[in-house]
């Protein structure tokens, strides 16, 4: 089997007393689109900068195509980066910015200009080659940065929150363009973002990071439907958290009425103990908590509750229901129906197979 395009083993990095990476391992295959997702300070940018060569890790190894690059300076690494603030050279024209890479690799001036023009065409800015970066809009600068990074045809492209400076509409459009470009060029992307929607819509695999560790690696569907840890469940999407504990007989007692949920049940992650009294958290997505017209609906675990709020989010309705001490969210398509308002008594319920269980207690 040929070696992976990028292989990271046990990477550690600290700044003073702060441990930014605490042993991170990851493999990236040719042509893959990987998103590094996590809150600020989780280590995702540190990881990216270690791969690019701007930081030297304290421990661990980074290999590209099987060869260790851990000690190589950035200019000797066969990859390129799109920077968060684009880092376009303000003293060079757009074309010179893009031709900069080929020139450094010994490509003659004329051919470098030709390649730059092609790369510019690729991002649809062929008319702007003579301009200077400050004469471009944010979206145009973004595309120039992209063209500059792909002109050398690297096997691996690192992108550090490249869309964070754009407004929402443009960001959505660029997400689609970027994905198409990635498929067209067949370059592997490692894309840092703190925007889960962005990661979900673009990446083949999402790497969820927290406090210098990888919490889960998986497709967008996998990290949403079967989060490996409480952190992932909290960070990705919205969720109701039902605190509870294992009852020692393979069941689970939840703070949703008095129901015992079979454990490990469908959708439960494996590898968590079943000892009695160990705390567990049930993760229930709002779309799986339904408003029912009777308490004995077949296949549902149900409880009575009181509506606290009805929020129309445009095409969807979010109903906040108080069940005992907990305030739970239920989401459904369509406009809020008549007769549903604050104080309405309702029955809410879910199918047990939609409940996903992780270890630990929910965050307060």
């Amino acid at each position: 089997m040929p070696p992976a395009l990028l292989s990271i083993r046990d990477l550690g990095k600290h700044f003073g007393g702060f441990h930014a990476l605490k042993g991170v391992s990851l493999e990236v295959e040719h042509g893959e689109f990987i998103a590094l997702l996590g809150p600020s300070g989780c280590g995702k940018t540190t990881l990216l900068r270690c791969i690019a060569g701007f930081l030297t890790p304290d421990s661990g190894d980074i290999r590209i195509g099987g060869d260790s690059v851990t000690r190589l300076p950035p200019h000797r690494r066969p990859l390129n980066t799109v920077f968060q603030n684009y880092a376009l050279f303000p003293h060079m024209s757009v074309l010179d910015n893009i031709a900069y890479g080929p020139r450094r690799h010994g490509v003659p001036r004329g051919e470098a200009a030709e390649r730059a023009a092609q790369a510019l065409q690729l991002v649809g800015l062929e008319a702007l080659g003579a301009r200077y970066p400050r004469e471009l809009s944010g979206g145009q600068q973004q595309r120039v940065a992209l063209a500059r990074a792909v002109v050398n045809r690297p096997k691996l492209l690192l992108l550090d929150e490249p869309l964070s400076a754009l407004d929402m509409k443009l960001r959505k459009r660029m997400q689609i363009e970027l994905k198409h470009l990635q498929e067209k060029l067949g370059i592997a992307f490692v894309f840092v973002t703190h925007d889960q929607e962005e990661a979900m819509s673009m990446a083949d695999r999402i790497v969820v990071m927290n406090r210098g560790l990888i919490e889960q690696v998986g497709s967008g569907t996998a990290v949403y439907a079967t989060p490996a840890t409480r952190f992932v469940a909290e960070f990705i999407g919205e969720a109701n958290f039902l605190p509870g504990a294992a009852d020692g007989d393979g069941g689970l007692r939840l703070a949703f009425g008095t129901a015992a949920v079979p454990h490990p049940g469908p959708g439960a992650s494996t590898g968590i103990g079943t000892g009695a009294g160990q705390s567990r958290t049930g993760v229930l997505r709002p779309e799986h908590l339904e408003l029912l017209d009777r308490a004995d609906a077949p296949g549902f675990l149900t409880e009575r509750g009181i509506v606290e709020d009805v929020i129309n989010t445009g095409g969807q309705t979010l109903v906040m229901v108080r069940v005992g001490d907990a305030l739970l969210a239920s989401r459904r398509l369509g406009m809020p129906g008549a007769g549903l308002g604050r104080g309405t008594q309702v029955v809410v319920g879910f199918r047990p197979e939609h409940l996903h269980v992780v270890a630990g207690e929910p965050a307060p």
Partner: protein, 294 residues
């Protein structure tokens, strides 16, 4: 420094001109009146004196300055010293600025160095030149050391030579260029250098293609400042020349302090001013043509 000199105030969305002027006037009255009375008018007086000879308008003073080979020789010495000083200051100051901003990682060390850099800047020219008089004397520390380590057979005369004056001026003007270049370097976005490395540049290439062009405006500002100060310096050359070398500002000083010929002295002053400004403008133009449009 240049930003302030060429007038680049933070332009605020401002009121329409007529109202603006009416509101600005009370604030501007005192400073403008003072600068007109004690700066602009005296300079005009010098200019008009220089254009008077024997009670009538005349260019005779300028003829006297410009047709005399002696003045051209003094000008040549003055600007040769200024050019050599500027060159030496740049070659010594740039590495120090780069070292302090980019290599020194300890803030405490950088701060100590900044204090040592400001200390001479805050000390009078005369005191600093005096230090060099002690050092460069026939039996001074410099000669003793050079003879001691065998680089020289016998003491060399520094005082009273152009070399001595350049050594003194370089010393006096070095902090200016270090501060100008250092502050420009500190504002260069380090991600630009990372981008350059990412695209395949060695550190050396990155320096010449990215870092250097980006802090060129700071360097040019520093160079212009140093050049004008070197060309108009009076104290240092007066002390280190030992009466053997004459620079242009000395001629001006003589005319006003001993001879008190304001017409001839005025022509000398205006000549120095014009030649300096022309050279500065040229330097600025070359700098702007150097490809830096940011």
């Amino acid at each position: 420094m240049t930003a302030a000199l060429t007038g680049d105030p933070a332009t605020v969305p401002a009121a329409a001109p007529p109202t603006a002027l009416r509101r600005a006037l009370p604030l501007l009255a005192a400073p403008v009146a003072f600068f007109v009375a004690f700066f602009a008018v005296p300079m005009v007086v010098v200019l008009s004196s220089s254009l008077m000879a024997g009670g009538a308008p005349s260019l005779a003073n300028y003829a006297r300055v410009l047709l005399d080979q002696y003045h051209w020789d003094v000008l040549a010495v003055t600007f040769r010293i200024a050019a050599l000083t500027t060159l030496a200051v740049t070659l010594l100051g740039y590495p120090l600025a780069y070292y302090l901003v980019r290599v020194v990682s300890s803030n405490a060390l950088r701060r100590s160095c900044v204090i040592l850099l400001l200390l001479p800047l805050f000390t009078s020219n005369i005191v600093r030149s005096f230090g060099w008089m002690i050092l460069l004397g026939r039996n001074g520390l410099v000669n003793d050391t050079l003879v001691g380590i065998g680089l020289l057979d016998r003491p060399v005369r520094f005082l009273g030579t152009e070399t001595g004056i350049v050594i003194g001026l370089v010393y006096i003007l070095l902090p200016f260029i270090v501060l100008a270049v250092g502050n420009a370097l500190a504002t260069v976005d380090p991600t630009l250098e990372e981008a350059s490395a990412d695209l395949g540049s060695s550190p050396f290439t990155t320096f010449w293609t990215v870092t250097f062009p980006l802090c060129l405006p700071g360097l040019i500002a520093g160079v212009i400042m140093v050049f004008t100060l070197a060309a108009s310096a009076y104290v240092t050359p007066a002390l280190l020349s030992g009466g053997k070398i004459t620079v242009f500002p000395m001629l001006i000083f003589q005319q006003y302090s001993t001879v008190f010929d304001v017409h001839y002295g005025g022509a000398l002053s205006i000549t120095l001013l014009v030649v300096t400004l022309v050279l500065v403008a040229l330097a600025g133009r070359i700098g702007n043509g150097g490809g830096n449009r940011s």
